[in-house]
């Protein structure tokens, strides 16, 4: 679905992404792991159009989408969430979700003044949908709270909720589980699985929690120093010598041995 070919992103003399090539197949939940500074988030940013690549191409189902602005990619069904949760802090949680679908009729100046009836109808539908999403994420009691007052974990859920307001095709989740307690993490994992099965979303997940990755992701891609180090099932990755050295560390290797 997404093909990244020899992608480079340089910040001054620093190669954040250094010739990464990878492929994400349709309907998969792909895990992207690697040590801090491996270039995972930069890769996300380049694919999502926040940063322009120094060189290389990104294609989505054969269409070249390299360097397109984020709002254009959004309308093609490519969404992402942030490592540090973002929100429109001065708006309520429901309003945050209602911002998401683009191309609403209230967006043209003419309709804003003269198409009130149609907009009201559309807003009612959106509000109902937002409430549905909030219920799905078990934060429906917070609908009228200002988004700025939410806890870190709740903001992460809101990030996920945003992707559910439209028919996304591929969603990039950047450490959606970081700083979230176990129960909430399970809620998030369930939501991801359900969206994948019921709505056919393709997911790419950056995560450090190996249990989370193991439970959700197949395949798993490992990045280190801006390059793709390995790719395979979670079992293959855990057994890969290079990966253990660069990321997982020998602790896990030993633990596996003890377990066996």
């Amino acid at each position: 679905m997404i093909r990244v070919a020899s992608l480079h992103k340089q910040f001054g003399g620093f190669h954040a992404v250094d010739g990464a090539s990878l492929e994400i197949s349709k309907g998969s939940i792909t895990g992207l792991i690697g040590p801090n500074g491996a270039g995972k988030t930069t890769l996300f940013n380049v694919i999502a159009g926040v940063l322009k690549p120094t060189s290389g191409t990104v294609t989505m189902e054969g269409e070249d989408i390299t360097g397109l602005p984020p709002h254009t990619l959004f309308h093609k069904g490519l969404l992402r969430t942030f490592q540090i949760a973002h929100e429109f802090h001065s708006m309520s949680v429901r309003e945050n979700l209602m911002m998401v679908p683009g191309g609403q009729s209230g967006e043209t100046l003419w309709n804003a003044w003269f198409g009130r009836g149609r907009i009201a109808e559309e807003e009612r539908r959106l509000a109902a949908k937002a409430d549905e999403v909030l219920e799905f994420l078990t934060i429906d009691h917070l609908a009228d709270e200002k988004a700025g007052n939410l806890s870190g974990g709740q903001k992460k859920l809101l990030e996920l909720g945003r992707t559910m307001m439209v028919d996304a095709r591929i969603v990039f989740l950047d450490e959606v589980g970081a700083g979230v307690n176990r129960t909430l993490l399970n809620t998030i994992a369930d939501a991801i699985l359900r969206l994948n099965r019921e709505r056919g979303y393709t997911f790419v997940v950056i995560e450090h929690d190996m249990d989370f990755i193991g439970r959700l992701c197949d395949p798993v891609i490992v990045m280190a120093e801006g390059k793709v180090l390995a790719e395979g099932t979670i079992g293959e990755i855990k057994a890969n010598e290079q990966v253990i050295e660069a990321y997982l560390g020998t602790g896990l290797k030993n633990r596996d041995k003890v377990g066996a």
């Binding site: 602005p69 929100e87 911002m99 998401v100 209230g106 804003a112």
Partner: protein, 336 residues
């Protein structure tokens, strides 16, 4: 009776002029604060946008006057205001196309935008003089007073008189309508919400599918409308001099910063704070105190804290104090 007289003097020389001036500053500061919140730079060309919009409105007023069209007791400029607004809109949109968009595409730092807007300011400055000339222009017509001093004295029998000029009343009424429309737009329409979303978190807005160019376009249109309205009201109230609008930049920025940059409510509050401070400090309070205090305590001097020549020092002073002690302003805007 003395207390009433003191109140009337105070209302006549401080309350009414400061309210009208405050409304004009508030409209100006709203424009500055919207640009700061959404395009993220301090727009130094704002004063001259006001001047240009006013100049266009004055030309339209003269055309209407020549054609014999008027509004009776109300100034003809009110009819010409939409033309002024359209003129200002055309100007800022052309500037955005030709200048600002180039820098937006480069994603330059806000400080570059500030310097660019200074360049734009000088161009507008010259353009306005080119269009209407460098001299003072009077374009107010219609009834001059709603309440005149003589009528007021006859009606109340007080020693002191009170005057309410048509332009002052008009300023406040038009400002209230403009602000009500603006807040309705920002809070109730999808475009307004997109603007607030963009101001809250630009990255997220982009990744939520909000088209930045559309938000920027609408912002400029609204800012141009506010600028032309503020400019025409100020010109009606105090007469039009091209360079005065450039000088207005200081109190306008002071108002926006005092209220909290990026916060529309703050801009309005800030406008009135600056206006009341400026007028109160530069008005000789001897006459007010003369009525209120017993004779033995009556001040000998004028009790004018600063002469009007120094009125801009008031804005400066307030600006410094706010930046030192509460850099986000009264209403928690963005830190400068």
């Amino acid at each position: 009776m003395d207390a009433l007289n003191a109140l009337v003097v105070f209302a006549n020389f401080v309350l009414i002029p400061a309210t009208a001036y405050g409304a004009q500053l508030a409209l100006g500061a709203l424009g500055v604060t919207l640009i700061y919140g959404i395009l993220r730079f301090s727009n130094f060309a704002h004063g001259d946008t006001m001047a240009f919009g006013t100049a266009v409105a004055i030309l339209a007023t003269w055309a209407l006057q020549a054609a014999g069209i008027g509004l009776g007791p109300l100034p003809t400029a009110l009819l010409a205001l939409p033309v002024g607004i359209l003129g200002a809109m055309a100007l800022v949109l052309l500037t955005d196309r030709g200048v600002y968009r180039f820098y937006r595409a480069q994603r330059v730092k806000p400080v570059i935008f500030v310097i660019v807007s200074m360049g734009v300011m000088f161009v507008y400055n010259g353009l306005t003089r080119f269009v209407i000339g460098v001299d003072d222009q009077r374009f107010a017509d219609g009834e001059r007073f709603v309440i005149s001093v003589r009528e007021f004295r006859e009606a109340t029998g007080l020693a002191e008189g009170l005057a309410l000029r048509t332009t002052q009343l008009l300023t406040v009424v038009v400002a209230i309508i403009a602000v009500a429309l603006l807040f309705w737009f920002l809070n109730r329409t999808r475009t307004g919400k997109s603007m607030r979303a963009f101001s809250d978190n630009e990255d997220l807005a982009l990744l939520s599918g909000i088209n930045p160019e559309r938000v920027v376009l609408v912002t400029w249109l609204i800012v141009a409308a506010l600028a032309a309205t503020a400019g025409v009201l100020y010109g009606l109230d105090k007469g039009f001099k091209p360079f005065v609008y450039f000088q207005l930049l200081l109190p306008i920025f002071a108002a926006a910063i005092v209220g909290g940059l990026g916060n529309p409510l703050g801009a309005i509050a800030g406008g009135f704070v600056i206006a009341f401070a400026e007028v109160t400090i530069t008005y000789p309070l001897k006459r007010v105190l003369g009525y209120l205090l017993p004779e033995s305590l009556e001040p000998d001097g004028l009790v004018q804290l600063l002469t009007t020549d120094y009125k801009f020092a008031v804005s400066f002073g307030i600006l410094l104090v706010v930046l030192l002690f509460r850099p986000t302003g009264l209403f928690k805007g963005k830190a400068v």
